[in-house]
Amino acid sequence: MAIIEQPLAIETSEAQLAERPLGSLTRPQGGNGWRDWLSSVDHKRIGIMYGVAAMFFFLVGGAEALLIRTQLAFPEQGFLSAQIYNEIYTMHGLTMVFLFVMPLAAAFANYLIPLQIGARDVAFPRLNALSFWVWLSGAVFINSSWLLGGGGADCGWFCYSPNSGVTFSPTHGVDFYAVGLLIIGTASIVSSLNLIVTVLNMRAPGMSLFRMPVLTWMLLVTQFLLAFALPVIVVALFLLLFDRVFDSQFFDPDAGADPLLWQHLFWIFGHPEVYIIILPSFGIISEIIPTFSRKPIFGYSFMVFSGIAIGFMGWGVWAHHMFVSGIGPISVAAFSLSTMFIAVPTGVKILNWLATMWGGKIKFTTAMLFSVGTVAMFTIGGLSGVTHALAPADTQQTDTYYIVAHFHYVIFGGGVLGLMGGAYFWWPKIFGHMLNERRGKIHFWLMIIGMNLTFGPMHVLGLQGMSRRIDTYSAGFGFDLWNLVATIGAYTIGLGVCYFLYNAWVSKREAKHLPAPGPDPWDARSLEWMVPSPTPEHNFDVIPTVESQDEWWYRKYGYDDNHKVVRIATVEEAAQKGDADDVHLPSPSFWPLVIAVGMPLIGYGVIFNLWLCVIGGILVAGSIYAWVLEPVDDPDAGHGHDDHHDDDGGDDPAMVGAGATDEGEGS
């Protein structure tokens, strides 16, 4: 259990900036100014930027949700016109899925994967920065349609044809939808390839795949889903865009085209997307629940394999979104069965979380409350999901508020609550101070009461026959009371979110007067807790050699002769000091940002004027070449997978994390 004092033997190359070869901009040399953030390739800073941007769009999407609920609070209101209402709910869905939950999960993935596997950075740090900036440019692009496109997209987030065609959606909203999602999709594909390579290739010595924390496993499955689901929506979006911009005939029924093609392509992407949203949250609570139950996770391998099973089976259920599309009885029966099957691995996970808590010394911190809330709410959502698997019942439920209730229980209850719990859990690791627990618990109760008030009544509304996506309803159908309750609930959630931001703000101010949380405030189990809080720029002074699951726990605890757990080292003894000063880190780069500026220009060009495409294209292509030419001996580690003429794979400093032999490592 020795602490490793000796420095890692890595060649350092400072002061090689004398002459500046082609392709390099002046890069900041370490610091905390805005230029450092804009050019950062540090996975932790990129993770923080993902998180901050995601929270911003959470507020945007939340404001849209409140507009929807305000319109529906009472019957026959004229607060929003039907057209604006269509745009608002479409943008609410897009924002929450693509601009909030996915990037917030990406924030956790970026920050935590390298730390949990014992690496110094991701495999391609510059590509990581590229993913973030391109995602952000796509997010801004989609929202710019409010100003430039004559309003947002008005076709729902699934944007079924022929509603998405020029005939029924004449503004540029759907064009912005298609191009914006293409940009965001590009970013996500790049990010997923990067993180898969990171997990497969850069684990610390001894960190075999089946010693990885469950969170890393779930994020790995998520990245595979992203990598293989997004190309399908890319195809669909190109077809849609070609239809709208170049008058092709993919979705025009008059010309003999089949609108079901869109539905299939969309949901082949869209259903794995559901698991892309939920699996990171599953991973997060799989870290939190064992920590606060003081027990190892129950059935680790079942946990991992059920996650993998969900990843595979998620590809075989897409048509349950289309039971009323006329896909025929055999398809309906097959997809009905596969949908029931996918409840099995999910049920295994729920059982394992409960069994982890069973008999544990449970400590109800805010993070734990959110995790338990996630399990409970997701179970409710999962059960209503099984009722959709019964095709005859689904025929009644399709396009009613029952569906809205279901997917909000799953995505908000299962996804968002888990991510919130993760925020409380890793806040000290990321920012070096705790979030106030008392206020955190108020936040939790506001969220969970709010969501049940909002989405619970929607079950009733749906079964009573209130259809989705209508901008108002008449009095006297029995919809009035539950709609009002749902609106009150939505404002409660809004209050909860504001209270979270208030908590974050005040906790930071109070932190000056509180003792620092230290490396391991929760007495947790995985490797990120063995480095100081906040994480030093180089992550690990020395890459640890891993000998078991829950490695960090076993550096603190052992067993005595009677198999009782005994403390063998204090956190101070076992943790790293974060004082290594000779670690060679990848240099920052501005090119990812420049590429991200170029991509929306191409997008605007496709919609408005092809000359803009030329400008954007030159910017992107030029930046890619500049990126490649950025000096090799400068310790830049990123490699473009779409620009393979870089030849510096061998001295990739981040790779040192995976390959270096740490002979001095104690047991």
Binding site: V235, L261, D647, G649
Partner: protein, 204 residues
């Protein structure tokens, strides 16, 4: 992929020490090609769904020129051979020969793209434009996407040639050529699928 408790360090040539023994760059390329399979899978499915939907107008299968496309397909397949020869030459340290094969590969790719441009213009002249019917839209989109992939491959090959002329491409950079080769072979394999499924199998 290794799940053993020690890092599986592949000791053959230089310092690519990763858990899998495959370098990061190469693994990323393999994964990227995996995502490309889904992209082309979607496009090929779209074409197969729409191939008989002519809306009364001319269908792609009516006007395919199989002998012509066979020749251009053969040219593209031969470019995979020259790609392998380029890599093999660089592995042996024969930089100039490698450069010549890279250039040949790019030129063969150029012949293929040129053939595609000729084919497209002929088809348009024969009355099948991009917007004529769902079948034509799907045909041009699928083969167009493939053509763009070949063109990007040519761009990468020419960048390698330039790097080689500048003396930056040596035997130790063989893996870069290998990775671009992976992309190039993938694009060829996709074409084998397209040529067989789209051109050779007749619409009933």
């Amino acid at each position: 992929m290794t799940t053993t408790s020690t890092v599986a360090v592949d000791t053959h040539h230089d310092a690519h020490q990763t858990n899998t023994g495959i370098s990061n760059n190469k693994l990323a390329m393999w994964l990227f090609l995996g995502t490309e399979c889904l992209l082309f899978g979607g496009l090929i499915s779209t074409y197969l769904l729409y191939k008989t939907r002519g809306n009364g107008d001319v269908l792609p299968t009516d006007i395919f020129d199989i002998p012509f496309t066979s020749v251009s397909s053969f040219v593209l397949l031969m470019s995979s051979l020259t790609m392998v020869l380029a890599l093999s030459a660089l592995n042996r340290g024969e930089v100039e020969r490698s450069r010549a094969w890279l250039l040949t590969t790019a030129m063969l790719g150029g012949v293929f793209v040129g053939g595609q441009v000729y084919e497209f213009t002929t088809f348009v002249r024969e009355g099948m434009g991009f917007t004529t019917n769902p079948a034509s839209s799907a045909f041009y989109t699928l083969t167009g996407f493939h053509g763009v992939h070949v063109s990007l491959g040519i761009l990468m090959l020419m960048s390698l040639v330039v790097a080689s002329v500048q003396g930056k491409l040596k035997a130790e950079n063989a893996e870069t050529v290998e990775i671009i080769g992976l992309y190039w072979h993938f694009v060829d394999i996709v074409w084998i699928f397209i040529f067989t499924v789209i051109y050779l199998i007749p619409a009933e």
